[in-house]
Symmetry: C3
Subunit: 138 residues, 3 copies
């Protein structure tokens, strides 16, 4: 069993956007019982993460951490054609994930109790992001 | 050919725990010749890495590096319900991997000579960690 | 449909080397229409990334960032058997990816417009790096 679906996610600027339900819906529609689900983001300034899904402070702190690790607008980063968040967005993407692979068990992504799937928009402006979910199994 | 097995790993606090042999045993039991093995950890405060497996100093240094990059107990991280290592554990997980996919060749994970599979416990307390290994191929 | 091919990439020291065309050629030769392509590097001092492929300054800045984040030759990293870039190479590998999984759509890796596949050599000396590409689908 193999299925592939492309989703569109509209972001409203830098931050994390939960997409767990949308990915689970694709897996459910695929109708497999056991296998793997793969989500891929077709961009280099937004990424995917698995993150704690209960306390929003976790994602707030994650943003704080990343803003300190990869500050916007520093002089030693030269690529800034699209602004001070241009190169930081590429670095943040490289330090996180462009794709996630998750086991499918009993017809669902077998996430841990506290695991949510998030799209992390790294640009300050909102963007239309494409995400392809591929499901393989039986 | 598709098989899925869930392993339990007991950790004794922060540090790396080699799981190469346990993953290889699952792959061997699956009985495939060629394909992919996928290991997934169902937690947001422990992760998986592929790391040099010969000199323990490498993992010691990795721990030193990460403790400097994401220090415990800093005032600018707010989520500390479970203690000063709570939020750092989530960040360390996001900066590493929640899953690894490894080619299977001639019935085994085709790791490089120096590649070992490690579970990285990011909390100071020991935990019972769940790891699901999914194998697909022929 | 399942195919597995091992490529050899010769690097000339630290830096990024685009391998998009070589991976796409393996996928094309596999002759599938839809599925997943998985690239795996069998080393712990070189890694794989998806990165912006239009402006070389992006990869230059990425190198600048990583050299600041994980400096060569610092006293607090003990593993330096092979020189001041030995342990930094392992850390840089852990912070990026040892494998990439990319959807295959209409017989090609469905990369975004600006996504290229790069091997990132983290050692200062050139190396012969092995990369295994596994393709599964229909």
């Amino acid at each position: 069993m193999l299925s592939q679906t492309t989703l569109t996610i509209h972001t409203q600027g830098r931050g994390t956007y939960e997409v767990t339900d949308r990915v689970q819906a694709v897996v459910r529609a695929a109708g497999l019982k056991t296998g793997l689900a793969h989500a891929f983001i077709h961009h280099t300034s937004a990424s995917l993460i698995l993150c704690e899904n209960a306390d929003p402070t976790v994602r707030h702190d994650l943003e704080t951490f990343m803003a300190r690790l990869v500050p916007d607008g520093v002089a030693w980063l030269e690529h800034n054609d699209e602004g001070p968040d241009d190169m930081p967005a590429h670095i943040r993407t490289v330090l996180t994930q462009s794709s996630l692979t998750i086991p499918v068990t009993e017809g669902r992504c077998a996430l841990g109790t506290w695991q949510g799937i998030y799209l992390w928009e790294h640009r300050h402006a909102g963007h239309r992001r494409r995400l392809t979910v591929t499901v393989q199994g039986e």
